[in-house]
Subunit: 346 residues, 2 copies
Amino acid sequence: MPVGTQATVKSLRNEALEELGAQIILANTYHLYLRPGHELIRKLGGLHQFMSWNRAILTDSGGYQVFSLSELRKITDDGVRFRSHLDGSEHLLTPEKAAEIQLALGSDIAMVLDECIETPAPRAVAEAALKRTTAWARRARAYFHQRAQQNGELPQWQFGIVQGATFADLRRQSCQQLVELDFPGYAVGGLAVGEPHEITCEMAAEVTALLPQNKPRYLMGVGRPEQLADYLALGIDMMDCVLPSRAARHACIYTSEGRVLIKNKRYAEDQKPLDPTCSCSVCRRYTRAYLRHLFAAGEFTAAILATHHNIHFYLDLMRQIREAIGFGNLVNFASEVRARYVAGPA
Amino acid sequence: MPVGTQATVKSLRNEALEELGAQIILANTYHLYLRPGHELIRKLGGLHQFMSWNRAILTDSGGYQVFSLSELRKITDDGVRFRSHLDGSEHLLTPEKAAEIQLALGSDIAMVLDECIETPAPRAVAEAALKRTTAWARRARAYFHQRAQQNGELPQWQFGIVQGATFADLRRQSCQQLVELDFPGYAVGGLAVGEPHEITCEMAAEVTALLPQNKPRYLMGVGRPEQLADYLALGIDMMDCVLPSRAARHACIYTSEGRVLIKNKRYAEDQKPLDPTCSCSVCRRYTRAYLRHLFAAGEFTAAILATHHNIHFYLDLMRQIREAIGFGNLVNFASEVRARYVAGPA
């Protein structure tokens, strides 16, 4: 899922996302709650209508941004009190409120509020956070059911979020507790936040072994191109990541031959496309030399072209992975992709 | 002509310009000479190929930017010595060099080097600058002919530039001197640089009365929407202006009802298109409320959408003006357009 934090995937018109074949994007509840506000978006017909996007939207709960962006946050069993990073105004986010905001946004998939902790975390901290996360998940689920009873079936899926830091038994416990709440899908949070990739994979494996196979499993906030197939091989179905769009704005281009840092002088006269094997509309038309010039000159157009290509790269990689799965060839394909990137810069 | 200073119309892919029906864009010789350099662009097949733009390109001479952007400029009869605004490096721009750079760029229309002066200018200053401008035009024309003799017919038109500040007799003198040099087209420089609109029109009228009717007449660096029809009515055929794209980046939207400063709170819940009568792809899909949000959130996408619409507005206005000319109705149409903007903010 390309990330459209503030109701736009940075530097791309929706028309470009459609051309790229994006089926779903992620939007951030925290940002949209603070600006322009979920009540405004509700009034204007929901997020799909507000941003003119007819395909699927997943919203996070806002929790992660409260923990990473806001000031003076104070967590109690009730919820998390915080100050807006925009204007310092004070807000309280509870499991019910997070669910309510996402119903106002009208996203297709909503996340429950969870407690995000810094890693590596002592076991006691992870245990306490998990306990609260489970309690909040129960409240969020109850709120959702209550709203459904009042209003009839809601046009939204609510996902639980597995926590437990890097403790396998806590992760298993989290799975069991959430599965009892019978969510239509499950996210895995608190991973790929600095721990070694092997640990991420180990935890993902613990989790996918317990979560229902017939429901989507979503690993939040990953990942690098060489890691995507690994996660899929472990039974993950969905991912989101700012990397392709953020890297693009920093002139880092993903290609079938590895990363191309396009500002490098070696590309000044390079008339090849960004990726000679790529079929995206940027590679069909523009050269490395031109893109390098646009970045050197500080032109917005550079970000537009680079983002378009990088999102294509990710979505195309996912298409290739699905094809490999169809041919029963996923494990081989994963090592092939890993090999391409092993020598590249980060 | 939309302005693509650094080989891109800011915030627009070429695909968008094609969708908008742009037949020709302007690129800046000064900027492209300094970065990425005209020799690089020559080596890569010229500006059309470098930026992947198959329609027409007009380049200015670089003179105006030398006079407005660079430091430590020193003018002699030979040319103008200046320091780059990018790295302080020293350069000499002569009439021959300006022509040579533009041949390297391979633009379809090139401008001769002229001396740009600040206005209002004392008569003696204007006289001296005109004398030099005419001498430089002769040298530029001679250089162009010489290159054509060496290489066969050049795939480029060279335009002379009429100067003379706000002195009608100097403007007439400039026309006569340039017409003797038999350029395939003529530009009018040094206008719309702060003098009242009536003076601009008066000077434009003096000039178009003398320049050949069967050759294009290009008024440089104009103008505001309400002025375009006026200039056309005076016999001007071509114009360029950064206004639509620059205003767009500053959240100023041109519409059939006047200017819309889209950041204004009154548009927060406005579900109308930017311009309800507009047929551009932005107005067909996005609302004022959404664009206001994108600007408030500091998203690049705001500039993309606003620029697209504003360029459409200008090109569509030109289409309407051509239609009015066809119906012999230009003067009425010009006052109609003027009335729309009379009450709007600048």
